[in-house]
Symmetry: D2
């Protein structure tokens, strides 16, 4: 067996961080060399010889963390939000001078969710109709969900690029809201139901057939396989990758 | 084996009528004695000795047909729409003088749909949240469907009668339509998708669990078992019954 | 507002017991007067004036607990297994001398699951075909699940009582197991999938239509509404009731 | 607008052929130049100037039909079964001498089904568990379905290639058949239900999440978009292509 991969976690006391620490400790090919909280010095990463750092901190500190890692030749897997175009451009410039170092910035580590979005996008041009139903717990404050908005936009773009006409719809009389919200022309329906966690269905239909792509997220453990995949892959993908789907092998 | 039940069909050339004629001819305990179209005389029912007549005509002729049947002691199973409160009251008065004759007026003969609505109504008071998703072919002109409207109203009444508070919903920011139409306070979502026929899901949720009642109608054959059940039962149910669920034995 | 209902929990340190304690403390119409573990004396129930006791202990102690309660005029809601015919008969004899005291023994407190089984049973006679799919986490040691076995038996009995013929099935060539296990003649399919908790679908079909009744249990919180319903109802149902469905109002 | 594509159908009197004739006549970019039955001469294809021929005949005549087309520079889209390795090798040799001519041999023209299989195959390596449920009308004589067998084999191969261990399964006591049939190690469950047509679900699960890919085939119209896609694409894909997925653009 080859040597263990030395991994550090930043934001190790948060909910995601705690789960990541446990997942890395449980991975047979990884060694957790540091689990740092807010006030711990970044120099520890160098002292402990970390090869990959997992950043699960907050928008105000993630950029400095990642830049420190890249400057010290440590690959980074980043689940923190707050990376706008300016930050990404600045990071790419830094990485240009560090051609051997890789950074993955992923807004979503749930493999199933990433795959579901990709499949919906690929299938969208081959069907007459597409609609999205997302279902969440009733404590959620926004509707539709961010994932549903993004899925609708990607699906709409795929259909536009392929020249697919608008889905047929003969609705004449309707109650306000019955046909959902329109996101880039795609109907999106948001269900809020006690007992649920986070679920999404993309329904695609043509005469005589239906294709349904459904993802259910039951708890936060669902993010860990994606984090581990990122940690295992990042050293072989120099430069900046945005989105976990860039690491997936979908050649089938 | 007992004698065959003598059954006649009115509106026998229409789509539903044609299917009913075939179903009755295929039933081992029934004999089709008449299959009448628009211009055929009702006296034929008497001449042929019909015991039960199935009316699948049009709103303008159904009342006269049923009154003729009752006046001649023939039981009636009616799938035609157009029976408002005045017509029903008038029919009940007529039936009061014919205590041995039964009439079933059913807006929906799909057993599965009738059962799904009943179950949703029974379960509604036991869950924190209820929402309805109905899915139809894109040639449908109204949204929500009539069945969804009726289901929402019955569900809402069951919850009100049991004193159930409104479902929790923390939504603060939303796109118009995302949370569906409100029908008696119940969110109803209408999907229109090429390839579909007629489908409905009632989702009920409480902390930790979900109950889903789904009905799929794939084609019009789904109405025939309900029609046959009506024909077999009507002679044992004197007076007026509205709704096929009145004939179902749900004591289980 | 009326007085609070005084409730005690036996087995209060177990997983179910801990959840029950929290649920009772959170109920606006209940006061938790005792939360007893294995070695705590039952006399505490009397001292604290408990009106209802919730027994969530183990098969070896549940009978003595319930008998103690009944002898002291305390109603009992029992979620512990181990009540065979002999124990039930003995308890009924004891209750005969205590006509004002009620006991509910419920193998399943998940309202959704209880309703799903009841609805499947009621609908079974109205469809040509019925099959059951149950889906659980892969740590489960038995297949099919106990709930699926019981559902299949009840469904089969309902069909037999109504004289429904066997479901059509033209299968000639098959791999062993493809068509599931036969439980009282009903095909039952058991899925074991990482990520799942406890789920069951009853599929009912006739020409042109399908009715699906699905229950999802996401976590143990799903049992608490049923426990609270039992606590609130037991004092109005003297004698022995087996099964939470005996407390449900399904007249809708 | 460019010129119309001249298309001929062989096997035009069969069920699939009849549907193909209608679909081609309805396509705005195609002209149906011949619709031939069993005894019609193939020379008609040349006389009418067919550019693409759709073969929907029988295993005993499809090879001769396709060879005739290729020899006359006519592209062919083939839905007939019976193409074994020897026939395919012989056809490839013929095509080598006709580098401008394309042939598509597709066992399945339902776009949704082809996509569902592809997606299942791509996702299989990223989840701990995979199971397949296929649901069909009760007149089907084989279980599992051919599509389910093929999906299971492709899914199993994808997991083996990626070194994924067997799915977890703690089942100790089981009724025969409950856990389905094993196809290359993947559990496959076959439901036969009155009212259904042809449906398949691939369930993929890991800790905390589930991905479900479902395809519903409601009637034979579902094959026509795939046939039209084949007709439109075949002239740009010289040589032999097996499987409609070879024509799909899944780069998304």
């Amino acid at each position: 067996m080859s040597e263990m991969l030395k991994v550090a976690v930043l934001g190790a006391r948060g909910r995601m961080g705690t789960a990541a620490v446990a997942a890395i400790e449980g991975a047979p090919d990884m060694e957790l060399v540091a689990a740092l909280g807010r006030s711990d010095p970044l120099d520890t990463l160098v002292e402990k010889g970390a090869q990959v750092v997992v950043d699960l901190t907050v928008p105000t500190s993630t950029e400095a963390n990642v830049r420190f890692a890249v400057e010290h030749g440590i690959h980074a897997v980043v689940g923190t939000t707050g990376w706008d175009a300016a930050r990404l451009a600045s990071l790419e410039k830094l990485l240009a001078g560090r051609p051997e170092t890789g950074v993955l910035i992923a807004p979503n580590f749930a493999l199933g969710s990433v795959l579901a979005t990709r499949f919906a996008q690929q299938a969208a041009r081959y069907f007459d109709s597409v609609e999205i139903i997302e279902l969440h717990h009733p404590r959620k404050v926004d509707a539709p969900s961010g994932t549903a908005l993004r899925t609708a936009q990607l699906v709409a773009k795929a259909r536009a690029d392929a020249g697919v006409p608008a889905a047929p719809d003969a609705t004449e009389t309707t109650l306000v809201g019955a046909r959902g919200a329109r996101v880039s022309g795609i109907p999106v329906h948001s269900v809020r139901l006690a007992g649920l966690v986070a679920h999404q269905e993309v329904l695609l239909g043509s005469e005589g057939e239906q294709l349904t792509i459904r993802h259910d997220s039951f708890n936060h453990d669902s993010f860990m396989p994606g984090v581990l995949l990122g940690v295992r892959t990042v050293s072989n993908r120099p430069g900046l990758t945005v989105g976990l789907d860039g690491y997936l092998d979908l050649e089938g």
